[in-house]
Point group: C2
Chain length 480, copies 2
């Protein structure tokens, strides 16, 4: 990360700065921030670069919010990225590492020495170190661990012990605790002595002498209430609280439903452990939605846009292989009917229509069901009702589209039985799609799996092979 | 909505209550809430129903948070849903209508009289009425409008004028404004006089006499600062602010990046209009992610799980029709080569493999690009670089998978040229998929369209028709 290890020519530097300037302009939003407000953007490309004034570039970076630096790093190709990374202030390193995407983080960490990594991690809170931990070399993690004060060491150990999708993984320890048997005036004085409150503090946590959670005092309440009143008289005792092993998904639902800013996390015997804030919920929702969208398309993980080719290949490998296997099976199903196709070659041209529309319809069904499951709208006793409805929809669609397709088939091939077989095959494959579209996610739920993952590949496999089999089978039975 | 218009038998009532009890148990989360804490769940099914004690059921509903009532309504079949809806307290009607999904809201509104709707809407803030407005009959909206005080009438007019995906549509008017030339003590006294602060108040908005926005006073700052200090000395003047016509997407990015709880909205001449809070951002993100997932699967909108069949059919109609058209085109491409297939029927069995793997790989590429665009990581000058990388990935994948598929083809059909043609077709179709996978979203962006919508259908259309054409064309050239 030393600057002189990079031999950046004038032009390189210029193009990086043009890039950054472009980004700053584009995200007009960001202009409101103090950090970006203060430097003369117009002059950047001109004066700074021509003088190769690295110090000025560094000055710009110093004024940026870590999230903005992270964004810039993500957008830059590897070489430029590492060059800029070398200019980022050491005390910002930790925050930036937290903000960048997984793929980019890997490239940054690979570029850092152990001592730099330890220094970066030490800038962070225990819960943040825990987020970073899986990407850190183990000797770095040990050094960080040893350097922490006892309390934070405990927190780090706890934070690292919670499963990825649990409330514990979203939890932080930035809580201010107070007692219930004091006047608000005392609380106000205590806060003034603290001099600063953690971000997202919308409530203070009331505990007894054993750290048992008693309730919360909302800051909004504190502000509007007479300072002579006791905490116990205005605190909210019955309030949403989570256990660290609750599913994170549950917490996000509660935040959405009840519009929370922060919520308390307690262990089984009621000891206050920490809190979850709306911003970690926001991050979680975003990541979850993204990883679902990626896995839907057959990508294992988020990709660094400038990752080397072999890394991208590896990321896309698994699903392509699965897809190839299912395509092979479908191909063998067709292979069973080669004699029929030889006799009536129109079958070859028509069969992909049956398979394709079935796949499309099945994906509609499965998406609806997966979504309803995620929202908790599906219970096992509604399975039959759902199957009934989906079959009804498929029947209507099958009759309508089947007739149209049958008619076209007749018009093209002047063969009325072929048209009828085509129509019937469409109807049957849509029914199959509906049935399997409901059953796949419900079965996965029963087996304790995530109903979303791989659902699209599975339904397409069924409607492809099934569609070919139904159509070619019917044709063999009735036409030959 | 009168109770006696429903002739619910004992058993019906029992099953509804079992359903509700089940839901309450399942969402253990909710137990923390005051609203649910207070009633004896065990007794519900037993005592209440046997006495047909409607009042008790109503009592339960009265204690539930509107979001929980909304959830219960969404999960119940239509008849039960309307029965429960009849029991909900009128003063909760507005909030519940806001919380339910679009499809369910329609069924509830259809069940209500004009005067009930007016009463429900009048419970809400101007920005909330604006959210509801598209679903309200116009005469109801007019009545509501007339009943509002002048200021709120203006707010409603403004809120309804902003486009759906703008910051204005997320904005609310629950702001507390103060002047900069007063001491904090005055502010504190002012707040106490107010007696209550709006939800999500994490900052007060500092304006001058002309309502021009000067900055914000963070509550956290107010709490820790000496009351003798002037507002102007502790307020934050350089702060993120939005214009109502900014894209909502921009606001959500800022909330995520800078971990905001609320942010101010000002018009072009700097007048403070309102604020955006993190909970409306949360709702927006969720809705956006959902509508993308739905459109990805070819559903026009979110579906009420218990919608009548014809409604679901309509919802899925459009994409099925498009899919059918593209499938027809692919079918005609195959039709061009019927002579070749007749001569070598193995082609019919093999061609779906080429098309299928191409579609899968194309979807991977397009998903990655769409995501990168959404995160602002793609600029036009990186187009060539991206195409280069995707083509590289495809080439690797094509060589590997193409060889495997070619080998299998040879093993099955004992025809070495067929194997070679298969391998070559795979490689070419994967290259086509990569090229088109980058170009489709980038072209849509250039045309000012949403790159995500319909991208999957388009790429599949290209890789299907293209795959068939490449494979059958090569086979015709080299094998026959």
């Amino acid at each position: 990360m030393t600057e002189d290890s990079h031999s950046h020519e004038n032009e390189d530097l210029q193009s990086i700065l043009e890039r950054i300037t472009y980004l700053l302009r584009k995200y007009r939003l960001v202009e409101g921030l103090v950090r970006l407000q203060d430097f003369p953007r117009q002059d950047l490309v001109g004066s700074i670069i021509q003088k190769q004034n690295l110090a000025s570039l560094q000055n710009v970076l110093d004024k940026l919010h870590p999230a903005d630096i992270a964004h810039i790093l993500e957008v830059l190709p590897l070489e430029d990225r590492l060059f800029i990374w070398g200019l980022v202030k050491t005390e910002n390193d930790g925050e930036v590492l937290l903000e960048v995407s997984d793929g980019v983080r890997e490239t940054l960490i690979a570029d850092m020495g152990s001592s730099e990594l330890v220094a970066a991690a030490e800038q962070l809170d225990a819960d943040e170190i825990a987020d970073l931990a899986p990407d850190l070399p183990s000797e770095v993690l040990e050094d960080v661990f040893r350097a922490l004060p006892l309390e934070e060491r405990e927190q780090l150990r706890a934070a690292m012990s919670y499963p990825e999708d649990s409330v514990g993984a979203l939890m932080d320890f930035d809580i201010i605790t107070i007692r219930e048997d004091v006047r608000l005036e005392v609380v106000l004085r205590y806060l003034r002595r603290l001099g600063e409150l953690p971000d997202h503090t919308d409530q203070l946590f009331v505990v007894d002498r054993n750290e048992h959670f008693k309730g919360v005092l909302l800051l909004n309440k504190l502000l509007v209430t007479d300072p002579d009143v006791m905490v116990s008289d205005v605190m909210t005792a019955k309030i949403i609280k989570f256990h660290p092993y609750d599913r994170a998904q549950q917490a996000t639902q509660a935040f959405e439903r009840y519009d929370l800013v922060s919520a308390s996390v307690v262990d089984v015997d009621g000891t206050l452990l920490g809190r979850v804030t709306v911003n970690s919920v926001l991050d979680f929702i975003r990541e979850k939605a993204e990883s679902e969208a990626l896995s839907q398309a057959g990508l294992s993980e988020e990709e660094d846009l400038f990752a080397p080719i072999w890394k991208s290949v590896r990321n896309r490998w698994a699903w392509l292989a699965i897809n190839l296997v299912t395509a092979f099976i479908a191909s063998r199903v067709i292979g069973l009917f080669e004699d029929s196709i030889e006799k009536l070659v129109a079958l070859a041209a028509l069969m992909p229509i049956v398979a394709g529309v079935g796949g499309n319809s099945g994906n509609q069904t499965i998406t609806m069901i997966v979504r309803a499951i995620a929202l908790g709208q599906v219970s096992t006793d509604s399975t039959l009702k759902l199957i009934g409805k989906e079959i009804g929809v498929s029947l209507v669609n099958g009759l309508v589209w089947g007739s149209i397709v049958g008619l076209f088939t007749y018009l093209i091939y002047q063969n009325i039985s072929l048209g009828l077989v085509m129509a019937l095959a469409m109807i049957l494959n849509l029914l199959l799609a509906a049935l399997v579209g409901v059953l796949i996610p419900l079965t996965r739920i029963k087996l304790g799996r995530d109903p979303a993952i791989g659902s699209s590949v599975m339904i397409t496999a069924v409607t492809d092979s099934g569609g070919f089999f139904i159509f070619l089978g019917l044709a063999t039975l009735f036409l030959l």
